[in-house]
Symmetry: C2
Subunit: 321 residues, 2 copies
Amino acid sequence: MHIVITGAAGFLGQRLVARLLARGELQGQPIHRLTLIDQDEAPLPADPGEVDVESLAMDITEPGEIDIVLDARPRVIYHLAAVVSSAAEADLELGMRVNFDATRLLLEGCRERGLNTTRLVMASSVAAYGGELPAVLDDMTALQPQNSYGTQKAMCELLINDYSRRGLVDGCVLRLPTIIVRPGRPNAAASSFASSILREPLNGEEAVCPVPTELTMFVMSPGKVIEALVHAAEVAGETLAPFRAFMLPGITVSVAEMLETLRQVAGDEALARVRHERDPQVEAIVASWPARFETRRARELGFSGDRSLREIVEAFLDERG
Amino acid sequence: MHIVITGAAGFLGQRLVARLLARGELQGQPIHRLTLIDQDEAPLPADPGEVDVESLAMDITEPGEIDIVLDARPRVIYHLAAVVSSAAEADLELGMRVNFDATRLLLEGCRERGLNTTRLVMASSVAAYGGELPAVLDDMTALQPQNSYGTQKAMCELLINDYSRRGLVDGCVLRLPTIIVRPGRPNAAASSFASSILREPLNGEEAVCPVPTELTMFVMSPGKVIEALVHAAEVAGETLAPFRAFMLPGITVSVAEMLETLRQVAGDEALARVRHERDPQVEAIVASWPARFETRRARELGFSGDRSLREIVEAFLDERG
């Protein structure tokens, strides 16, 4: 079992590497080779065991660059490389090149080599939704993205579905909820606060909540996202028709519930570390993301979500140690 | 008012040219120039009056080809050039190049020249729908196309919407119902019979009906489609947000109703010219097209459909003379 991961230096990429190595097998076959791809060399795992892990610095938006990797005929490709929504919005050409053209090159590379049974797993996003949305979204809700990142992801979904329908590759695209609690520091993402208002107080630091507490979000823990990525490589291709992209089963939580969970887990002292300071720009973006989904497709395909916000927070604490 | 039409040699392109010349104005401004583009030179109208009509043979999938046209800063671009669904299914590369890449080149050309107020009107299709569809579709029904043509059109919709949202062009995409009654001869399209079972008997010829008579379709007359294309150039851009692609208000008719209308208009003798000979392939394709739509967006934007099947047939007879 040879697995390729693009965007392997990222948060999800690094966790996926660790999980795959811990698992040792995928699709019932022992993993013998892992190829990590990122624009700079992704860190190699400290203890790869018997697995041959290589890390390649590569610009996958350059035609031909990834060919040498595809020539090895990997069984599974995790395509996680992307520029984030703020960058895609700031630079249309960059977003199109990385988020769309690179996916197309990957699909064409698979097609040219007849990699029709190679499972291609891509991460899409809640940002692909937009417009006049119903109160509760489902698997047949239109994608009318109101940002370039979501547009590019939606186009990739269509293309991967078509290549899969034609039997040229075996694709599966997961639309990811907002991931909380991310480790590390706050970043420029509009969703950054959702991790920050839990992570920082739990670490004894201050955090800013830029949105009203009644605002709701659709969230999933990093652990469940990685579990979903593993499952996406194993779910039978024939069950993925007629459309190979769907929303993962996140849970709907309000900011108020997040803060109450923080209080339950770490006390009033932790809660007091959250300062409320509205940021209309962040609020507008986050409020535009749908928060209620009926995710029947994903559940029928065996994907599962977190049971509660409390479990999400406790998993973060366990992991942090 | 300078108007560009790609695919100008086609059925819709030629009718649109005639209608625009008959009208003489668009967006309240006199039309002084019409640029017709097709892979072979589109026929020039016999009587262009005061309008400067030019016909250019051009491969718009070649980067830079269309630049000379865009340099003239047209106010309206009708992008009707496409390869049809059977060709796009037979040749993925051809379909991607003509149906998707050419649209992207057009968008980039507009962006590079700052043609942000140029209205770009594209024709999309009912073929963009697919998958597990509800009984009645609406403006928020997901596009999960089950053919490459529909995939490419859906990708163009997303891209045109994003370029428009960013203020780089002023796009409007119309999803066309099945057009009946087309003039001319039967062709390879799966929908060809829908015109054929009316047109041929009305012309005293035999026709074959390859589907069960209870099958329903969503249809629009050529006249109403052209009216919609004209209106698409005139509808205010700010009313088109949040998503610039929508289904036109066709009418839902069964094949049985089509045959009954034929009988009412031309008698039992005409009806007897239709031979019933099932073709499972045609049936499978046509049955996969949704036939019931709630087209609120289009109606709110001022687009209108045919009042009845009888009117559609009578319009065909009037025109045939």
